[in-house]
């Protein structure tokens, strides 16, 4: 058997239209006004537009407010343990090329307890789309300093203001080798939709850091970044490769050093695609190995392969 054979059996596109209604599950338990609602709305929109086979959508998450996402999407899904959603999703992705693996989580889940898995998922370039709802705080556990909390932020674990330098998510992802890295904002639903679509079209480990406000424990965290509140939402000006002189100064998303430099722009920073390249995925490498191996063997059954091995052990 090959992992590829089987799922295709059932993934034949289904004729029923994927409506928002069909995608809606439990009513979110988030606080009224929480930025995560917008992320959910954008995700519904993307799925409606793309009309993937309903049964092939998988929504996975770790633990946190944001990680409750899978309950609110009517798709196959799993709500895992804190910080380990990337390897869970890697298992799903590597075994099942027929599925669209979406992963949602928070800054604590992704950059603190889960930070190592993020890096290794990135360097191995395992195909999945991962949206990190960054609210600069631990929401579910009620206001402790998170790895992205800015210096000075007063939380329950830093009553006089946070002192540790925060993680720079974009730099972290670049250094680790993620092949698609973007940044967006929960108040910018169209931009969010656009980023999500590009991420899911990317064949590799694609991550979107989405600033998403925690109105309960860090209200106004992104005020300056929020155009609705008079802030600025500065987009990355991507190269159009049109040969014009203006294009010279535009950002080449395949340029790692340039992306790293853009990641230094201070808060609220830039939004859009920082980096994208098409390094082969681990999914592809492993599949190739499987195929080469099997081709070399001819087409024996599983029983024949094992029998042969045992014969050598006589």
């Amino acid at each position: 058997m090959s992992a590829e054979d089987s799922p295709t059996l059932v993934s034949t596109p289904v004729s029923e239209k994927l409506t928002k209604k069909a995608l809606t599950a439990d009513h979110p338990t988030w606080c009224p006004g929480c930025g995560d609602f917008a992320v959910l709305a954008a995700f519904y929109k993307v799925l409606e537009r793309r009309q993937l086979p309903h049964e092939n959508i998988v929504t996975l998450a770790g633990i946190g407010c944001s990680s409750r996402f899978p309950y609110f999407v009517n798709s196959h899904g799993a709500h895992f343990i804190h910080g380990r959603a990337v390897p869970l999703a890697s298992g799903v992705s590597l075994a099942r090329p027929d599925l669209h693996v979406f992963l949602f989580g928070g800054d604590g889940d992704g950059f603190s307890i889960g930070g190592n898995h993020l890096d290794h998922g990135a360097r191995k370039n395992i195909r999945m789309t991962y949206v990190i709802m960054d609210n600069f705080v631990y929401g579910l556990t009620k206001k402790q300093t998170s790895p992205t909390s800015p210096v000075g932020y007063k939380s329950k674990t830093d009553p006089t203001g946070a002192i540790d330098q925060p993680v720079n998510p974009i730099k972290k992802l670049l250094a680790a080798g993620a092949t698609f890295i973007a940044r967006t904002h929960a108040t910018q639903i169209n931009h969010m939709i656009q980023m999500t679509e590009r991420a899911m079209d990317h064949d590799g480990f694609s991550v979107i850091e989405c600033l998403s406000e925690c109105v309960e424990f860090y209200p106004g965290a992104f005020d300056p970044a929020n155009p609705r509140k008079g802030g600025e939402f500065k987009l990355i000006d991507e190269k159009k490769w049109d040969g014009t002189p203006e294009d010279e100064v535009r950002h080449d998303v395949t340029d790692e050093i340039a992306a790293y430099r853009l990641a230094n722009v201070p808060f609220p920073g830039l939004f859009g695609v920082f980096f994208e390249n098409d390094r082969p995925t681990k999914n592809a490498f492993e599949r190739k190995w499987i195929e080469t191996t099997r081709a070399r063997l001819g087409s024996p059954t599983d029983l024949e392969i094992l029998q042969k091995t045992f014969d050598r052990m006589k």
Binding site: N74, A78, S90, G91, A95, M313
Partner: protein, 605 residues
């Protein structure tokens, strides 16, 4: 598991044979050969060939080896016990010791039985010839090897030279051995094979007759009607058992003595269209495995104690979310980093109780190399049927020990790895309170339009999180109930020896062999001792109390500590369940497998 065919005479003789080795019968049915040298000498290669030859000759065989604590190099032994009767342990004493160096001689001569033969490299070893207990047989192994190979190979080849010597002394089938040499070195360039064959010939043609007055020969006792044998170590048996069980995906992180299971699976699974991932750590490994299992493919992860400690949170998720998963623990000496290259059975508590909360899981243990194969099948069967994590306990002695066992009937055994993607009808509940959970893997169409979320939060039948008091009670009971149902279907293990009497020795895992041999020896001495081997440790099979009732003393022999209250880990579990004060412990934590005589001393009044 092998059934007893004949009792090994030499090993079961309670009194030393004594006197001179040449007084021993020409026909033997059991010999313990210990090769002692340094780990780079290739004694494992030579030993493994002896084992494989025995397997091909329908003999029983068991090996035992030590790994030095230095990173590479350092003293090391490889021991082979070959018999035409049932071989149950690697042997308490050696009949034959090959000493490559002075330290090999000094460290291991105490292990040679009286009348035993010391074969030593006279270029390196000066034995105390005044010690009249042994037969001395000095051969200039180093010099002769160098001579035979033309001096280019440095020390390389001594192992194969010795193999030749042994073949001559024990009258082994030289043709078959040379075949094995060709197989072993065949992949590499031709000159290596030739060199090895030259070394073998040199040893085989050495005039042993000038040193020994007797040649030994194994009694020919063909096992009628049984299939051929396969020869492998416990980790190989486990890995191939997993493949036979339809396991196609897994993930792990290296650690001794688990690593070779993962190395085999990493190399083999692609042939079957599957995949094994080396993860960044054990937390990721178990999570990847859960991702595979969640996807529909029953997956395996594994480690030794330290890595299993890291997996306990995720194993708890598998209990709660009711995801099937196989978790292999090839136990080593603990606690903490402990004694990585020694053996112990001290992870049973962790296997049964290691996660927070009431998180029921199944725990099985392999009895011997053959059982490593079959226990994997049993574990996979249970994991699939009950949608539960199953821990498989093996240990460092089984991992590297080579045994020959009857070739499994793969045709009737092979399991289909294919997930069930048939669309689920309207009204499908992922977590039915009354029934056993059977997840619909992603990719499965839900005809009712409602797709399932699997979760580690307490949940209702649909997987919605809930804190409703009654529901947590009901779901906790549901998860408990399925294991009770499993307990009902586990067969009560048979008592070995007299079905009632004074003493019942209870064992689990790799103590199987030594305990059986202890029963045999006690019988030979006229003492009525029986044994019971537990393969299913959690849940335990029902009805053990009725077995225990037939004996006056129940002694649980296990390789772990007696603990604060005087009882080993399995003994504690049994006492808690049955409250039978007859249940006592025989424990040890010296990092070595039980010797048969240790068991006898420990249980006999």
């Amino acid at each position: 598991m092998s059934t007893p065919s004949a009792l090994p005479e030499l090993a079961s003789a309670p009194t030393p044979v004594g006197g001179r080795a040449d007084l021993r019968p020409q026909n033997i049915n059991d010999a313990v050969i210990r090769l002692a040298g340094n780990s780079q000498d290739g004694i494992q290669t030579a030993g493994a060939m002896l084992a494989r030859l025995a397997g091909r000759s329908d003999q029983e065989v068991m090996t035992y080896m030590t790994i030095p604590s230095t990173i590479s190099g350092g003293p090391s032994i490889f021991q082979v016990r070959i018999g035409t009767g049932e071989v149950l342990s690697a042997g308490d004493e050696a009949d034959f010791l090959v000493a490559f160096y002075q330290h090999s001689y000094q460290d291991h001569v105490g292990f040679l039985k009286e009348g035993g033969i010391l074969l030593y490299d006279s270029d390196h070893v000066q034995p105390d010839l005044n010690d009249r207990r042994f037969v001395y047989c000095g051969v200039a192994i180093t010099g002769l090897t160098v001579e035979a190979l033309g001096g280019t190979a440095k020390d390389k080849g001594k192992n194969i030279f010795v193999l030749g010597l042994i073949a001559a002394i024990f009258h082994l089938d030289a043709e078959k051995l040379m075949g094995l040499i060709r197989e072993r070195f065949g992949g590499k360039n031709e000159s290596i094979v030739n060199t090895a064959l030259m070394a073998f010939q040199a040893g085989y043609s050495y005039p042993v007759g000038t040193l020994l007055s007797t040649r030994y020969e194994f009694e020919a006792r063909p096992k009628t009607g049984r299939p051929g044998q396969v020869t492998m170590d416990g980790n190989q048996a486990l890995a191939y058992g997993l493949i036979a069980a339809g396991v196609r995906y897994g993930a792990g992180y290296p650690i001794t003595p688990w690593s070779t299971v993962m190395e085999i699976l990493r190399s083999e699974l692609p042939k079957y269209g599957g995949l094994f991932v080396q993860a960044e750590d054990e937390l990721a490994a178990v999570s990847l495995a859960l991702g595979f299992s969640y996807s529909g493919y029953l997956a395996v992860t594994g480690s030794a104690g330290p890595g299993i400690s890291l997996k306990t949170e995720a194993i708890g998720w598998a209990s709660m979310a009711e995801i099937p998963l196989l978790v292999v623990n090839v136990q080593r000496g603990g606690p903490s980093t402990g004694l990585p290259t020694n053996v112990e059975q001290s992870d049973l508590y962790q296997a049964v109780f290691g996660s927070h909360g009431d998180s029921p899981r199944v725990v099985l243990a392999a009895a011997n190399v053959e059982d490593c194969f079959y226990v994997a099948l049993e574990a996979a069967r249970i994991a699939r049927k009950y949608s539960t994590p199953v821990l498989i306990l093996s240990d460092g002695s089984l991992a590297t020990r080579i045994e020959a066992f009857d070739e499994p009937d793969l045709k009737s055994i092979m399991q289909d790895p294919q997930p069930d993607f048939t669309p689920r009808p309207d009204g499908y509940e992922p977590y039915p309170i009354g029934g056993i959970t059977k997840h619909a893997p992603p990719g499965t169409r839900m005809m009712g339009g409602k797709y399932p979320v699997v979760t580690g939060l307490e949940h209702d039948e649909m997987g919605h999180p809930t804190g409703r008091p009654a529901l947590h009670m009901a779901m906790t009971a549901k998860r408990r109930r399925k294991l009770k149902q499993l307990a009902e279907e586990i067969p009560l293990p048979e008592v070995y020896g007299s079905p009632e009497g004074e003493i019942l020795i209870v064992g689990w895992g790799s103590t199987f062999g030594p305990i059986r041999e202890a029963v045999d020896r006690a019988k030979a001495r006229g003492v009525a001792v029986a044994s019971l081997h537990l393969r299913h440790l959690h849940p335990l099979p029902n009805g053990l109390d009725s077995v225990f009732a037939r004996f006056n003393r129940i002694i649980v022999a296990e390789m772990n500590d007696e603990g604060l209250y005087g009882f080993g880990q399995l003994a504690t579990l049994l006492r808690a369940r049955f409250c039978d004060a007859k249940i006592r412990s025989l424990t040890k934590t010296d990092g070595l497998t039980f010797r048969v005589k240790e068991i006898l001393q420990g249980v006999l009044p």
